[in-house]
Symmetry: C2
Subunit: 199 residues, 2 copies
């Protein structure tokens, strides 16, 4: 009589990670619309019902996938900011094709999946807050007067440029890319190689 007490897999089962890996590959290669229970399972070499066994709904799968990546991202960025060439490290981190592509894909997803929206927004704000907190000290170390440009604006600009570069690359666009990369990297190099000279 009592309605079936639906069972679900434990969070640390091996095949759970296998499914998440498969989902991430699909998301990166074909976009979020390709991430269906059946295709994820096929990619993992498992039956599609297992997706529902480990993740109640597809939203749950996306959330689990996002959280796993988000934690890695926060750690990587913290390491970059703490390194001895933080600007270069931050730029390398931000323009990582896989990372930026996944972020953009999750942002698209968040646009029409309510459950994802809050999570993505929260993570992005945390990333940005960590940068905004670290940057003033970094700029000061390089002798850059804070009046030049508010650190939070610099943080925002960097993120924008990195994301759009990666996004457009994927579409086969290139207008202005080389010039912008060169401009940013030249800027970083001048700052980090000659901390005293910058005009």
């Amino acid at each position: 009589m009592t309605s079936s007490p639906r069972r679900y897999g434990s969070p640390d089962a091996k095949n759970r990670s296998v499914l998440l890996d498969a989902a991430e590959e699909l998301l990166l290669a074909e976009g979020y619309s390709a991430v269906t229970a059946r295709r994820v399972a096929a990619q993992a070499g498992l039956k599609h019902q297992l997706v529902h066994y480990y993740f109640h709904t597809m939203d749950d799968l996306f959330l689990a996938l996002f959280r796993r990546r988000a934690e890695q991202g926060l750690e990587q960025q913290a390491a970059a900011l703490a390194s001895d060439r933080p600007l270069r490290a931050l730029w390398t981190f931000s323009t990582d094709p896989a990372g930026a592509s996944l972020t953009m894909e999750f942002m698209s997803l968040a646009n029409h999946r309510e459950a994802i929206r809050a999570e993505v927004a929260h993570y992005a704000e945390r990333l940005r807050a960590a940068q905004a907190e670290a940057l003033p000290g970094i700029l000061q170390r390089y002798g850059i007067p804070p009046e030049t440009c508010p650190p939070i604006v610099l943080v925002f600009l960097t993120t924008c440029v990195a994301r759009v570069l990666v996004l457009e690359d994927r579409l086969g666009m290139s207008a202005g890319h080389d010039e912008t990369r060169a401009y940013v990297e030249d800027l970083i190099q001048r700052l980090e190689e000659h901390p005293s000279r910058h005009d």
Copy 2:
């Protein structure tokens, strides 16, 4: 015997535009995954088969929708660049929420729809080329030495910032937005109100 010579509606039929309008509303409000033949027709108050009558496939509908918007966009940007306050006009044009949202939605779509990809990339390159052509003259008029920053880089930066601002707004993000908007608008105002002074 001869296989049915499938018929299709003429490009200037009234209901064709009605369907495109409906598709655009859906795309803006709920994202591209909501733009199905059935939902578009429902939004337009028509039967879903009419979508296939006017647009052979859904890709055709997306392409028609994109081209209609793209032509408007190119005209609007040309008008902005030719106005007496081109920087301000360009910024206003670029940060138009509806326009930027649609552009981002089409970029997401282009990411996993081959037929859309080429069209979106081509349009975006044309927009950027038009800006890159006009900007040197504008900067010269304001007395800005071209060594400060390559015009094409400025063009790219502006587009990035505008797009990401709009995208993040839709997700409910706000960190750094006010500061960045203020920074850009202050910059534009200083340039356009006092063409001679800029330091």
